[in-house]
Amino acid sequence: MTESISSLTRFLDELSAIESQAVPEIGAARTADDLEALRVRYVGRKSGRLSALSGMVAGMSAADRPAAGQAFNGTHKRLQEQLAAAAARVLSTGAAATPAIDLTMPGRAVWRGARHPVTIVIDEIADIFREIGFTIALGPEAESEWYNFTALNFPPEHPALDMHDTLYLEGGGLLRTHTSPVQIRTLQRYTPPIRVLVPGNVYRRDVFDASHAPMFAQIEGLAVDEGVSFVDLKATLSHFARRFFGAATTRFRPSFFPFTEPSAEMDVECQICHGTGCATCKMLGWVEILGCGMVHPSVLESAGLDAERYTGWAFGMGPGRIAQQRYDIPLLRELYDGDVRVLGALGQ
């Protein structure tokens, strides 16, 4: 009994002796080499003084061992911390023997890439619609007159065609003026329920200016099933607007597209002035985001679907214009120039 007590006491005395000797020595160390020597002397695994002392624990009674182990571990941990703190100090202040390390110097960088702003907008839109069951469909950029116009209920020789000034191709076909031909392709190939999103490039016979380009991106959505209604259109697109623009109020106003009826334009309350009117929204308080409407029965019939049984809605918008607004890009052309100073900064 007595011996056991004295054995634990001796052990504890020895521990605190080691610690009180080591701490000032560690504090006085000036170089990494000094520290390494101290580490080996005190906590080195083979010949460190703490390791040597640990042999004593084995000879203790079972009752004393826990206390001894706890004290040992405490001391060991404190010395390790002292060594780590000293190492950091030696590194940052430098020591006489080795050159200083200046931690304010830059790390070794890598180049940073960037998705195109239009891609970023498309991806964000797609992410929101994917959550509500939409998949992505694609189609050719050179199309036939039938897929681009006729099947979408454009009357021949009609002023509605003026809104789609078209680039025609030698040998037949045209460059699609909207992504809507993919509506027809999808409706022909799949049986409702259909919920698809169609991103892609579209073409217009336009001069490159502040807000027009002969090619630009469009993203289109189509939902067709039994019982799909104008309420679904309003609800889904308002949900999208809230997700995409934050807590945004939307309004729907009458519009015209040959391939939808009723047709609408969806506006979002101007994020700059919150509806009071400013230069960005041309004093309207609203910013036009997308065109939409209920799929025209003749579009469903173009794809051989029963327009009495199925109804649907569709929308289309311009990710380029959204990117232009969001990133405050003065000229649309700058999105397509490929200036790495612009794109690199926007795509981060």
Binding site: A223, M294, G347
Partner: protein, 822 residues
Amino acid sequence: MNASVEWLSAFVDSGLSPRELRDLITARAATVDAIEPVRADLAALVVGRVIEAARHPDSDHLWVTRVDAGGPEPLDVVCGAPNVTAGVLYPFAPAGTTMPNGITIERRKIRGQVSNGMLCSARELGLGEDHEGILALTTTAAPGTPLLEAVAIGDTRLVIDVLPNRPDLLSHQGVAREIAAATGKPLRVPVIPGGDPAPAMSAPPAPVRADRKGTTDGVRVTVDDSTDCPAYLGVVIRGLRVGASPPWLVSRLAAVGMRSISNVVDVTNYMLHGYGQPMHAFDLARLGPDAAIHVRRARPGERLTTLDGVERVLDASILVIADAEHAQGIAGVIGGQGSEVSAETTDIFLEIAAFDPRRVRTARRALGVSTDASFRFERLVPATSPAETCATVAGLMTAVAGGRVAAAPALVGPALRPPEQRVRLRPQRVARVLGVPVPPTECATLLASVGFEAAVRDGALDVASPPWRTDIAAEIDLVEEVARLRGYGSFPTELRPYRIGTVPDDPLVARTARLRELLVGMGFIEVRPMPFVSDPSPDGTSIRVTNPLAGNESYLRSDLLSSVARRAEFNLARMEGDLRLFEIGTVFRRQPDTPGRPAEEVRVGILCMGARRPPHFTDPSPPAWDEWDAKALGEVVARIAYPGASVVMEPGEVPRALWRVRADGADVGWVGVLALDAPPWASTAYGAEILMETTDVADVAPPGRHAPAIERDGPSRAPVPRYRRPPAFPAVRADVTLLVPETVSAGAVEAVLRGANEPMLERIDLLSQFYGDNVPERHRSLTWRLTFRHPERTLREKEVEARRDKLLRALETHLGVRQRTA
């Protein structure tokens, strides 16, 4: 369409402000893009308060005032008006303002006193003749408020974006009809303002109709084809006096942005903007002695000088209004100079007609001239409109220009059927499309408010459209009417259950997304260039654009890297030489044997040049990208483009296409050096272009047919790698340095090593290449590290040596390659 708020008020007294009108029209009919004060010339003026007014020290009629114009400091303003009074508000033109008379107010000294602007009289603002003093304002607006906001001055213009389906909204009457329906206020026939007493509007005799030929007051009217011209109404007015228009007419036209020409022409323009019926007045005296009107197709090569002074050559696709011999106008587009009304005109032949929109569109496009008239005719003026507007214009014309209608006007065209064609509107259909039930009675009330006749029969509505609603042809058109008149805002926005779609993701989507992620992660910047080029590709497969707007957009590109290269040059011109660009885009090619649409491919193009890493103080000039980077990039891109395929980089035609990329044997792209128009400081550009997918351009099914998905359209999965247990025993490495003759490629050496049936050989890594001192001519020294491993035990040194020697023997046997000694 420009609409004047005052003009609209003449049709319907809605009591709404311009902003309220804007919101109402936008919500129900067509979007109002802007509200503009007609007196925009007063936009720079503000409300100014005279704080103090003192006599000018050097003048007995001038005042020196201090004016609060909303700025931080009051302004010194010299004023000559006898009525200037401290504390009163006046219109103030700050220095820099251009006045309605064109004079710009400048900061200047008037008899030694500085004046920073002008307090204005009514006459100076063009608001009347009162020049006795400056105009005291009765407003509560704060100093500095724009004058046009503080005081109602002049008319307000609404700019309405009327879409092609609603030609009935291209007139004040049409817009007023919607306002009346929405507000419940009656639609009126406007009285002529400003007449004192109001001029008597004498109604002319009723028109006499004939099918093909008619006569009025000695003028024969012939219409060749009633399809081209379903209604042609001629009115002869004799004894009128051409002169200036009365002020009310001038201001009506000014409010829609038109300049006054003469009373006769102004009345026709008033009818166009007021009622949507374009009209044309011919000088009767200039239609030849034997006055006749002949509506016919132009003769090939027939010439006509139009009102804009351009001589035009016509063809048989163009409908003209001719006298007995010559064309005198292009039907529905523009009149001819030869029969233009002038100051000497006393008798006119007034044309009120309806033309086939396709005819007008053809002429407008062929002649390249668009007018307010052609715009309306192209969108359809109903055949009923001429007879409806005849009395109004005759009364107005004689009231404004004098003269009288002596004979019954002639109306040539087929008898118009009453609108017997009814469209059925089923309540179930309304509910199905709109998502909420709208009771038939409500539908009927809504439709009736804008001129439809709707009667309930067998639980549905029988609807007859008013003649101006030429857009209504089917039930769905009425469903839209109901939704619009009820207000889109009235429908709920509740998310309802939906079924999951049957369409799988296009398989290209996942691959392009992975590729983008990879390339962006490696520091590449995505570009989206225009896919046009100015010249065809040498192989003759380029697709020409038949109607490009710019010469550099004449062809569609047939490769991606030329577009990306142009973007690199754009950056090089801006001194940016460290470039890593990529595009995932479409290229177009003519299919040699297949006419029609081009073949399309989605490809990925990457370009790298300049420093491989940003400079660092440990590495101030990092190495430039080289062909070995490009080769690895091309390979890694191809592996993503072709998941699971065997990708081989096959040596290509040095120096340009260094490698052809093969995926499962197919040629899918190349890697090599790009020729750029680059400044001398630029480093070499490397590129890779790899096919991702050939787009299916074929028609899915014939028009009107459904071709449901077959098996291949089901979701396809890219092959996934299989799990392999990580090795449990250490590997042993052995380096071999070989003396390789120049006729033997490294690839050949590796092929022999791999083909030597040595199962323990796990990896082959080429470590170095060396030419020089101890290496014989036409040879090089190459060092490979061979890694051996046994799956079940640790290999012994001797075993490894034996295996290495076996491989060396194989090399010697097959290639004559030996280990380099010393």
